[in-house]
Symmetry: D2
Subunit: 505 residues, 4 copies
Amino acid sequence: YFLSDIVALKPAVMGEVTGAELIAEALKTQKVEYMFGIVGVPIIEVAMAAQAAGIKYVGMRNEQAVEACRLYSKFSARPSSLEAIPSVIEKAVRTSIYGRPGACYVDIAGDMVNAKVNRISCCPPPPVSLADHSAVTEAICALKAAKTPLVIIGKGAAYGRAEALLRQFVEISGLPFLPTPMGKGVIPDDHPNCVAAARSRALLQADVVLLFGARLNWILHFGLPPRFNPNVKIIQVDLCAEEMSNNVKSVALLGDIGAIVTQLLTCVREHGWKYPSSTEWWGSLKEKIAANAEISKGLALNTTLPMNYYTVFHHISQQLPHDCVIVSEGANTMDIGRTMLNNYLPRHRLDAGTFGTMGVGLGFAIAAAAMEKSRDKSRRVVCVEGDSAFGFSGMEVETMCRYNLPVVIIVVNNNGIYSGLDPEAWKEMAKMGDLTSIAPPVSLLPEARYDQVMTAFGGQGFLVRTAEELKSALELSLSDWDRPSLLNVLIDPSSDRKQQVSAAL
Amino acid sequence: YFLSDIVALKPAVMGEVTGAELIAEALKTQKVEYMFGIVGVPIIEVAMAAQAAGIKYVGMRNEQAVEACRLYSKFSARPSSLEAIPSVIEKAVRTSIYGRPGACYVDIAGDMVNAKVNRISCCPPPPVSLADHSAVTEAICALKAAKTPLVIIGKGAAYGRAEALLRQFVEISGLPFLPTPMGKGVIPDDHPNCVAAARSRALLQADVVLLFGARLNWILHFGLPPRFNPNVKIIQVDLCAEEMSNNVKSVALLGDIGAIVTQLLTCVREHGWKYPSSTEWWGSLKEKIAANAEISKGLALNTTLPMNYYTVFHHISQQLPHDCVIVSEGANTMDIGRTMLNNYLPRHRLDAGTFGTMGVGLGFAIAAAAMEKSRDKSRRVVCVEGDSAFGFSGMEVETMCRYNLPVVIIVVNNNGIYSGLDPEAWKEMAKMGDLTSIAPPVSLLPEARYDQVMTAFGGQGFLVRTAEELKSALELSLSDWDRPSLLNVLIDPSSDRKQQVSAAL
Amino acid sequence: YFLSDIVALKPAVMGEVTGAELIAEALKTQKVEYMFGIVGVPIIEVAMAAQAAGIKYVGMRNEQAVEACRLYSKFSARPSSLEAIPSVIEKAVRTSIYGRPGACYVDIAGDMVNAKVNRISCCPPPPVSLADHSAVTEAICALKAAKTPLVIIGKGAAYGRAEALLRQFVEISGLPFLPTPMGKGVIPDDHPNCVAAARSRALLQADVVLLFGARLNWILHFGLPPRFNPNVKIIQVDLCAEEMSNNVKSVALLGDIGAIVTQLLTCVREHGWKYPSSTEWWGSLKEKIAANAEISKGLALNTTLPMNYYTVFHHISQQLPHDCVIVSEGANTMDIGRTMLNNYLPRHRLDAGTFGTMGVGLGFAIAAAAMEKSRDKSRRVVCVEGDSAFGFSGMEVETMCRYNLPVVIIVVNNNGIYSGLDPEAWKEMAKMGDLTSIAPPVSLLPEARYDQVMTAFGGQGFLVRTAEELKSALELSLSDWDRPSLLNVLIDPSSDRKQQVSAAL
Amino acid sequence: YFLSDIVALKPAVMGEVTGAELIAEALKTQKVEYMFGIVGVPIIEVAMAAQAAGIKYVGMRNEQAVEACRLYSKFSARPSSLEAIPSVIEKAVRTSIYGRPGACYVDIAGDMVNAKVNRISCCPPPPVSLADHSAVTEAICALKAAKTPLVIIGKGAAYGRAEALLRQFVEISGLPFLPTPMGKGVIPDDHPNCVAAARSRALLQADVVLLFGARLNWILHFGLPPRFNPNVKIIQVDLCAEEMSNNVKSVALLGDIGAIVTQLLTCVREHGWKYPSSTEWWGSLKEKIAANAEISKGLALNTTLPMNYYTVFHHISQQLPHDCVIVSEGANTMDIGRTMLNNYLPRHRLDAGTFGTMGVGLGFAIAAAAMEKSRDKSRRVVCVEGDSAFGFSGMEVETMCRYNLPVVIIVVNNNGIYSGLDPEAWKEMAKMGDLTSIAPPVSLLPEARYDQVMTAFGGQGFLVRTAEELKSALELSLSDWDRPSLLNVLIDPSSDRKQQVSAAL
């Protein structure tokens, strides 16, 4: 999956039907398989032409990100004539997948006349480059000299499809690794070298950090103290030169991630080197992992009702198939879920937080499920949403029902944003005056029945208060391949992540 | 109501709490009574400070228009220091209500330090100007010479609060008039001089058209043939010089609409002139009105099931209180509803179509209902939505339920956009293959239970198939002042406006 | 003059010649008489077509403001087809002259095909509106109650062509007045009621200020202390509602300035009121004017060499014809020149400082001189430039020579920006090392011969060091109507405005 | 040279002097040696602080490209606090030299308070990557199979400092090569393998084209027919993935150009392959080169007066030292000069045409000459300008004179843009009426004395009409290292490039 090939298209009314046909044909040539849109006068003909050309069309209910697309896209164009459409679409598709992947935006005006059109063929696969040999050697020397080395695997490794090579590298080198949110699953989260459960200690005490396709941005605390060792040596493996030495000086291995992992592997094998599993560093990390596991287990097996986040995610993680696609958005829900729900395959997680925009989760889930539907052996799409996040685009459950897309939505519902009120407290407050004057801005309606929003359109809905109800509802949902389900999981509205997390990590 | 005083505010994290207090105080000084927002980290403190300052806060579920606001706003600013906030907010509020009303946008950065702040007082009411006497005389001469005159009342007349004066003018001058969508209710739609039911003929055959606060844009077909007489003389009354002679040369009466109506009234009275009710023009218009009424009545009283648009709106119009606020968005739903649902008071209609953006209707209804709640004698807010339009922000029914805002939502549901399929046809199609390949892009899920989206959050929901069910559901909804209701009115999915309208108008 | 009708046009290569003809014809229809451009491939055909259509074309050397135009223009459009060009050009011209005047920008793409075109006629003159009667009454009452009233005349009064009426108003009311830089000449600067020479005192002590088309921006110190009386009552006459009560609450007389002056005059006459010339206020102002005149005279008649700014401007002011057009840009040169060079006619001054962009002066002078050339009795265009300002577009003297435009350029040359070095000091410094390491950033080449830049292209050039040389050179320049002249007036490079001004004002 | 490290800085007034010092120090840390600016209030302190920190400052007369910089820059930022300045400047410098080089823009607001600042060190040199081995092999196979191969050397090869390696590659492989305008000099233009004089034939008949750092844009006719063989095989060596297969599918060698040339060389050596010098292709190219040389020689040795372009450039090329830096802008002047003036060293040509903006030439020449001044053995900077191009920034000759920068400017003066009129024709035309109505838009003043613009500021000026005068003037100019010179070379104003070129190439 991944959004590496999204091309937003904004077509306007065409002077003649041929305009729509032309767009559809150009998309088909570039091997676009799916089109997502909101139907309005201009797009209807394009959607029909796309279907006629063999492209699948999914009509959405609200496509709020389009304008955003244009502003933040890697390439944005407005063909000045019909005959320019095929080459502009080729350029958009090519630019979206060459170099650092990114969305592109094509705005097609309405009042263009028809004309003869050149044939454009599909663009070739992205080119590949290798790291400079001296940089590779420098990196290996640094790793060999390291006392407390750490590998970090980012989404660039997933985009670059480097999973098999990276796993080899981690196993042969014996190094501990951490994934970033979108790097989860490149190597399975339950791999013995994964030290995600000791993330803070690993970042803070590492003396050499080897990054594969992970940027030194806010997600990695910019590579700076107090979260990183001030004397840490950073090695960056990335295809984007401009990311190198960003915030912190680094050894720069510029090029395709898979190709560079091969270079590193060759070196490691030649040197016959492996980081020993008996070091103090491994001991310290494993001790922390074990301690954290104990705390998490305590929270997870807590039987107090309403449930807390850890209990909920513990039971979900027990039941999810390893090959499922996990989409997630929210605040606590996304943050805690990221640590509690394992990924076992690369490109099987869409973490809305990376994009910073709430409301994209259901759209991602629909896209993933529509693509799965056309596979021989399709996989589950599970969408884990905070209750506030679900509100941004909750009406898209109608789209799932309309196309029979068997998405499993789990709304972790704490009656609010960050925290909410329980029904009794809410009722008492309502008696005291106008709620617009006194209700906490973070509160939503207590025990809102999001599950009924799903049943309204023919999907399955479950109201879940206990671990047993959660287990049973999830089992029923996962066994139904014909329609979507929504689990409305009520948790303790006053529970706050901080107290739990400070203990846990 | 009206959106004449919307100021979008985008505050970021403040260095100290005083930042939030400062914003709240500045809004209070400018007499802002309500604040609408989406809660996230930065806005929470501002929302709480606003409540503490006596401003009511309504937390929404999805505020997609904010970015749009900034792009299309009349004034946009980013205060460079905390002490600049009060004067920037004053400027934004003032600019939004002076001259042509429009939204303003204030973006407040997070990392500003505190400082001493100047006191800014609330801005005075907007200034008023009059038309040039010679232009007034020219206008009156043109009207006196006209054989087939027509008055058009636009939203500028509503913004300008010119209703009492305009009614006097229409009655004393004896002229036929038409409202634009947002001008409806400035004079009641059932006024004997209203010729809205003969709109096309009136526009086409008028020889002199007098516009009050109505722009010559696409809503009025730019004032051009084939919808207007090519030799029509246009008189424009508007406070915006740049609108004058836009597309068509006109006699320009520049200034405050109320003040200019007074000037015109004085002239008409001095001349002792009145357009006779016995003219051929009045005869022709009345004949057309009667004929259209007959056709509408036929459609409205048609008892075939599923119902058509006219039947639905006919029964709604029978029951709505005259002082209700009507919000509407959609395609056919909005267009036909506009002709069938009368407005009797100015500024009691919010017609989403003018803004061109789907998804704003429920937000408008919430704003209106929240304001009504604080009035002594509150009025009904009725929100008439197409089913596709409802999908853009349907989750806002949770907001209505949360704050006990008794909005009546009527979803006119034809299972699609422009038109849809009935459940049987849909099922047959689903058997034929993957729906993403074959389902018409305009189709939505047949008989989707939007009413259950309302009951999911504790409001009333009604599934309506017949006129009797409609009548009874609307009665129940209108009698409940404690919570919102949603009527999911199923109509004939294959019915198309065109065939009906071509007959009707 | 004035820039009220500038429409920047950026045409690109046309598919066929008819594109250029279409633009030329549309401009002609809108009564555009002059076109200014920089010739490159795309514009040549448009320029030739414009000449063929009877529009005069002036080819410039560097048109750096075009991109700026687009960013700051009141209206900006890109016609999507050839047939849209005439109506877009009409809209641009209309928008530039209706409401508050402003530049408009039309960007015409190159690759458009030909099509049939609708006939668009020239837009009518701007509409006029009057002030509300009650606001007029309030203004008159405030003036009658004032002890220390002041009138300020801004560029809006000049744009509005209100000069005759304003002069009547000032004379009948007996009020003291001040012009803003671009309001100079609406009433002659030497009018007995003009108190420009006591500007600071007048602003500071006025209790009622009546503004005609002057904005409360930085030029008027925002109407705030410490430059204004904190209790001052402001009356604003302006056609732009949004300017009203900007920074300071005011009585707002909204509408056409000429029309409102008529309203005020009627009132003043009815009341038979006149502000007496025997007041303390008049006494105080006249005393200050006399004192400042004495100081200026001292500086002006100072015979030390090199000359100072006041001596230079004194002698220039003695010789300039009263009907000349004065263009000015620079720092001290523009500021001091504004106080020392009188304007006697409205719209005869183009003060580059209002636009904030250096380098526009010579372009303005060329435009003015080209228009003068086609008049029966043409007037002098005099361009007063600082030496740094002249450098921005000095090559435009070739344009003046090419078209025989008899502009008189006076470069007031202090060898730098704000201040410079004399030739000896410069030579000494050059001996000390690399000038890029040690030369003061504000220094330019001492005694640069800007006069020879003019003679290089066939104009007259004069190097001026003394008052006698200045007198004689200016006499020769003003007597030559066939070619431009440049007076390179060397002044004391170390003289600083501040010391002189603190004494003078 | 080259503009690979331009960082435009727009500082505003600082609250305290420390702001300016901070900027200066940050620039110094990033090893910035020169600062170019236009002095105004805000920049003075920064310029002085820069000089104090040991950075050289060159004050210009008109910096029109700054706003453009911001719009087209690779990175643009506005630090939100003083303490962010060093890291933002580091990021700007780093981004400008990492990946594809490009200008960056930093806008520093004025009203920031002081604060403690982190120490940021200078960014490391750009990282390097290699091409995928299989792509290298594919490229070598294609070259070996080629009948009519061609190498094209672009500015990327110059930026990448790959000159020594590329020369080895060309000589060992025996391939013919062409430079792009900015690739001239990477290998000397007089190298026996250079087929620039048969450019059209080489492009059209090549069956395999190997591009080193040259984009498939308009300068290379997009790699498409009719200028390229429709079946041509393209091999691209470039560090920018997004350029690969742009317009035409290609074999993509992604990475650092020098590193990839090394890879290719290794391969070529291993295979022991060399393209024979005895092929038909070499025969055909050499024959065309000889024929074109004959024609050029004919034009160059033509003794008719006024001179033509070829004569002028022939004599210039005879005298220019091989290590001089050539800056050029204009239309015919730049195009013909590019073919007639050889470059012998890489990064010794600044071809304004690549940037598309007229008026940058003199600024480039000043920057180059200022840098040369601080070298032990400085080289000549020669600026070849069309007369129209010179007009855009001609006043910068004062800057050259001020700092004693010995630039040699050669204005090739044809009295117009593309073509002009001779003095007699111009005088006749002037008698016929107002020149703004009848003068051809492309005409400038005949025989304008641009040389006197130089003498006005103390430089040397020469009016040149004959080959002898040209020779003598150039000799005098090149022998004077203390001040700039300008040769105003009058050529035949009616001469048009086309007739000459169609013969020549």
